[in-house]
Amino acid sequence: FARNTIDADTWSGLEDAMISADFGPDITDSVIEELRASVAKYKTDDPADLKRMLRETLEERLARLDPTLTLSARPAVVLVVGVNGVGKTTTIGKFAKFLVGHGRTVVVGAADTFRAAAVEQLATWAERGGAEIVRPQQQGQDPASVAFQTVEWAQRESIDIAIIDTAGRLQTKSGLMDELGKIRRVIEKQTEIAEVLLVLDATTGQNGVAQAEAFIQHAGVTGLVITKLDGSARAGFVLAVQERTGIPIKLVGQGEGINDLTGFTPHVFVQGLVG
């Protein structure tokens, strides 16, 4: 955007910037087409106008869905899912802290009974966040039964919110995806699930869309969490994810500290993307 008229270089610079931010070739093409039409319609050749239009387009497209969390049920059960290493367990710690800070009581369920030290990791986060924890009673216990016991505990102890951690799984592993379905069904026999949050790592590229589609199909995702936005990745792929799936972004993680979690604001997000 350094030049003072919109020319071929402006457009190719814009295309490069969008590709580099992981919007992917399809969304990039569609946004540029839209902007070309706007530029023609408003007969402008000022790059500053173009930048403003880009910001508006992205903000408008990202703001089409409602980012509000639905946590009014008691207990409100939140299931957290996603591929390996994206930040599920960490997000649960931050989220618990956030809820406790708002006067809610929280229990977390360690239904990742697979990953080395996953239970201990969640226990550390629960302690930091001021939440209780339900642990598996034996090694390798069925994750669905841990989820069941967590919800049962929340019901019995009148705890406001139960957040259930699950093991990371790649969306292509059908056995593991079926296991998620089972966890869901077991909880649904006890109560309605308030939110199923899919955690996506900001560094992800075009595979993010495939992740979202598979988890929606198997786990009935109701909201997205984007983590690691404190890094250099811009996470443009989430626009494609939101538009293809109709699932809103509800939370954003930006650090490894317990307070590094916020709601999703299209304006702030686009600021990070476009400047």
């Binding site: 490069d16 590709i19 580099s20 931010a21 992981d22 992917g24 070739p25 591929v83 390996n84 290493g85 994206v86 930040g87 960490t90 710690g93 697979f114 990953r115 080395a116 030290a117 201990e120 990791q121 550390t124 986060w125 790649l170 969306q171 292509t172 592993k173 790592d201 900001a202 560094t203 992800t204 590229g205 075009q206 595979n207 993010g208 495939a210 690691k228 404190d230 890094g231 250099s232 990745a233 811009r234 792929f237 490894e256």
Partner: protein, 301 residues
């Protein structure tokens, strides 16, 4: 040639109007190059690498090896594949063992990339080869990283050096240094140092990684990168190269369906070889890297 299915199909479309002409015009080549560009971007290959790469392919496609070919589409795909394999490295490099043991291997990478799991895989693989590896718990940051490494070491059946509790307590540089002495005393011939995940933009933590490196002077520094990473691969790889430098790359989570364009980006940008592929959560899901398989994967089979 069925192996290069998807790109070949795309190119076949581009070449449809060409049948009988025998020679490629510059416009034909440009249309072809646009298709290749698109395929690489869909595979998350970094833009600057794509530009560089398609420039070279364009040059070769305009040359005589294509214009005389019976099937120009396949010929171009062949060129693309050759160029990909060249960048990815002809043959996977093996670990450099120190003349005077212990051989020191340090792991580095973004949060959640797969370092700790790799420590287990690498140690199990080396132990099966008659080595006596020692895992070192120098991630004192991530909650219960030390416990995780201890569990992984148990699963791999190897020793672990974990003098500090972690969770913010202890100095990783000191632990790494002590580990070398411990390994010499106990005659471990390979030392594998697990470090905390860190972002490329985190100057302070990057400095810490550089300090660990300085303290132990490793024979190998392996940069572990998630196959699902997008365009940020370049920025991150550069930051780790400038910050700690690394001698080789390990591509993790290749058991999914990510096309893994990052492999091409990192190899091309840093000139460092990709040495291993991590292909699952189990400790045996690990193999030397195969550039030719990766090339086909990026092109989408």
């Amino acid at each position: 040639m069925a192996t290069f299915g998807n790109l070949t199909d795309r190119l076949a479309d581009t070449f449809k109007n060409l049948r009988g002409k025998g020679k490629l015009s510059e416009a034909d080549v440009d249309r072809t190059v646009r298709e290749i560009r698109r395929a690489l971007l869909d595979a998350d290959v970094a833009l600057e690498v794509v530009k560089d790469f398609t420039g070279r392919v364009r040059e070769r496609a305009l040359g005589h090896e294509v214009s005389g070919a019976l099937n120009p589409a396949q010929q171009v795909v062949q060129i693309v594949n050759d160029e990909l394999v060249t960048i990815l490295g002809g043959e996977a490099r093996r670990i450099e063992f120190a003349k005077n043991p212990p051989t020191v291997i340090m792991l580095a990478g973004l949060q959640g990339a797969g370092k700790t799991t790799l420590a287990g895989k690498l140690s199990k693989w080396l132990a099966a080869d008659g080595h006596t590896p020692l895992l070192v718990a120098a991630d004192l940051q991530r909650p219960n990283a030390v416990t995780q490494l201890q569990v992984v070491a148990g699963q791999a059946g190897v020793a672990v050096f974990a003098p500090e509790p972690g969770n913010g307590k202890g100095d990783p540089v000191k632990v790494a240094k002590q580990a070398l002495k411990f390994a010499k005393d106990k005659q471990h011939d390979v030392v594998i140092i697990d470090t905390a995940g860190r972002l490329g933009v985190d100057a302070e933590l990057m400095k810490q990684a550089a300090n660990i490196r300085k303290a132990v002077d490793p024979d190998e520094v392996l940069f572990v990168i998630d196959a699902m990473i997008g365009q940020d691969a370049v920025t991150t790889a550069r930051a780790f190269q400038d910050g700690v430098d690394f001698t080789g790359v390990v591509l993790s989570k290749l058991d999914g369906d990510a096309r893994g364009g990052a492999a091409l980006s990192v190899a091309s940008i840093t000139g460092r070889p990709i040495m291993f592929a991590s292909t699952g959560e189990g400790l045996d899901d690990f193999e030397p890297f195969h550039p030719d398989r990766m090339a086909s994967r990026i092109l989408d089979l």
